[in-house]
Subunit: 376 residues, 2 copies
């Protein structure tokens, strides 16, 4: 335990913020990206290799862990940090999003959600209180209030009904939460793409009062323009001294746009999932290592990257591993992608400190438009 | 390059030998076990993690690499060491065994073997000369003469015919081989389970003259007793000052029995393949991590093992990874199994140095009979 949960603002550049989170398991420099460790492992990565990418905090999924191996099991084994050998901060989601996207035979009422596991059909219930209890059992540094993920597209009436339910659930989550030093509970702003609903939801979660505030229900198909428009509305309505988390985002360009608008925390499966499907992020755009044009290329994936994959292996070797379906392919590509994201966040933090965020964003966009390094 | 290929005998204990190989890419303390890096990667392991287990030399498969990505491709990329980022010694097999066990539509004649790739049906030919050329292109420290793997069971006539073909091929391999400092060519003794054939084969390969001698065609179903009986015959017929390699072996008990009889080198897919199927080697016997009895067990896989898997993770966590089919399961279990094998070989080397090999062998057998640590 390293003392109380805290968020300090160190610098600003326009609406963008450079901050530092202090949690029970260490500090997190923000803006920060959280790799997703769904089932108690960031897929294809040892925890020490995750840390070596520059990652300081990961996200774990309440839904997956409650099904297997079970929250009580993890608690009996000393909590999630110890179970998965990750001694640094963990944020857990509430399970709400995954219940909506993965579980079977869902039934939602005022009380919560009942559903069947996508793994074996076993019956479970998730309520705001049970979600908080599970997150306590896991021992995460940052817990999230249980919400209903509003479908997209949704009419305004549907989005309002859903948001209001989430706000009532948020109040119950707050009541169920037992504060502990260094641990935090975040509330989630919902309201779909409707500015008035977002403002009302922001007011409601602030009225309940949380240690930080998340923006949920975005990056679900509405497009970057609408997403950033919602952020423009929502960020203004949130307190400046609390961390802000944009859930499930995202692509580098989305992250840059959101950082500009004052977001501090992000999570997304994109770098890890891409690493398992031969897709690599580079400073000149995406590279598909399955493509035959890499088969004899002795050059590194990204000549501007200092990760072990780029320092030690050729594109030809990575292509070979992908074609041969070797486990080392997702290992090396996931490590590279997480390093890409960690480097991006470090660049954003440095740019905010120097008041040069606009230059950096333009520079990254220009490099990505150049396309990948030309074939040999 | 570290100078000429050399084999020094440092100590003996009965027929067992403690030695040191010096190759172009470094030294190897013997008796040594070579993990198998079939397609240019020891599956689920980074090369630095392979080295961290105590492994000093790996085996790579000529057959797999000639099909994909191709020997000329690897040569153009700087050779196999550089391609796969393994700066230490590599032994390549000749391709003979895999052609017999994996390729389709094989046709064998005096010249060599033609076959179709098991990957895409493409047509290939492998001769003693082409096998050596491929191994030159790969740049392996130790190349093997191309042989026909005698099927088991085989009548004595069939075993004789096969052995004699392999001996003619061995002479052609020797002629095709271009000696380079620090690199070596090994011949292979064949002859099935027939002592007279093994003696004749040993005399034939010694007449041709190689830097080291392998025993092939064992561990193919003949059982440990017959295998050790063949070794008893064959080891006596081989020169004491050259390294001896028992191909494709094996289980810890087989290795101990063969070390007692004077074998210096081993390779087997067992530790790596087992790591991908939830099977772990421990000082108290095999453990199947898929078994539900591990699901809540906070203890390490092997309390007597100092590997990262045993120091950092519980059986419960490993069981969870196996059940969730997480890539981290083969990563952690392969690392443990390779460490088990490397520790076994280090124990054998230490016991030979102290003249206590019989005690060690009995001790290992007794511990394995105890069975795994009892359930909690």
């Amino acid at each position: 335990m390293t003392g109380d949960f805290a968020f300090c603002l160190l610098a600003r550049d326009g609406a963008a913020r450079r901050g530092r989170l202090t949690t029970a398991h260490g500090t997190v420099e923000t803006p920060a990206f959280m790799p997703v460790g769904t089932a108690g492992t960031v897929k294809a990565m040892r925890p020490e290799d995750v840390a070596a990418t520059g990652t300081e905090i990961i996200l774990a999924n309440t839904y997956h862990l409650m099904l297997r191996p079970g929250a009580e099991r993890i608690a009996a084994l000393g909590g999630l940090n110890r179970f998965m050998n990750w001694p640094r901060p963990i944020l857990t989601d509430s399970g709400g999003f995954q219940v909506m996207s993965l579980a079977k035979l869902r039934e939602i009422d005022e009380q919560g959600v009942t559903f069947r596991s996508h793994l074996d059909g076993a019956r479970f219930a998730l309520t705001p209180e049970r979600s908080i209890e599970i997150q306590h059992l896991l021992g995460s540094d940052i817990a999230m209030a249980f919400d209903e993920c509003t479908p997209f597209p949704a009419e305004e009436d549907e989005a309002r009904r859903s948001m209001e339910l989430s706000m009532r659930w948020a109040a119950r989550a707050k009541s169920a939460y037992r504060p502990r030093p260094g641990h935090a509970l975040f509330g989630i702003v919902q309201g779909g793409i409707y500015p008035a609903l977002r403002r009302r939801s922001a007011a409601a979660v602030m009225e309940i009062g949380f240690d930080g505030y998340a923006v949920g229900g975005l990056a679900v198909g509405e497009g970057q323009e609408r997403m950033l428009a919602v952020l423009d509305e929502t960020m203004l309505a949130l307190p400046a001294d609390r961390p802000r988390y944009l859930m499930g985002v995202g692509k580098p360009a989305d992250i840059i746009g959101a950082v500009r608008r004052g977001v501090d925390l992000f999570d997304c499966v994109l770098p890890t999932r891409s690493g398992r499907t031969a897709q690599a992020f580079t400073r000149r755009g995406m590279v598909n290592l399955r493509n035959a044009r890499h088969s004899a290329d002795p050059r590194p994936l990204d000549p501007d990257c200092a990760c072990g994959t780029c320092r030690q292996y050729s594109r030809a070797y990575l292509h070979h591993l992908v074609r041969a379906r070797e486990i080392l392919a997702p290992m090396l590509l996931t490590a590279h992608n997480l390093r890409y994201y960690a480097d991006l966040m470090a660049d954003l933090r440095g740019a905010i400190e120097r008041g040069r965020l606009e230059d950096l964003g333009a520079g990254i966009a220009a490099r990505q438009e150049e396309g990948d390094i030309p074939p040999l």
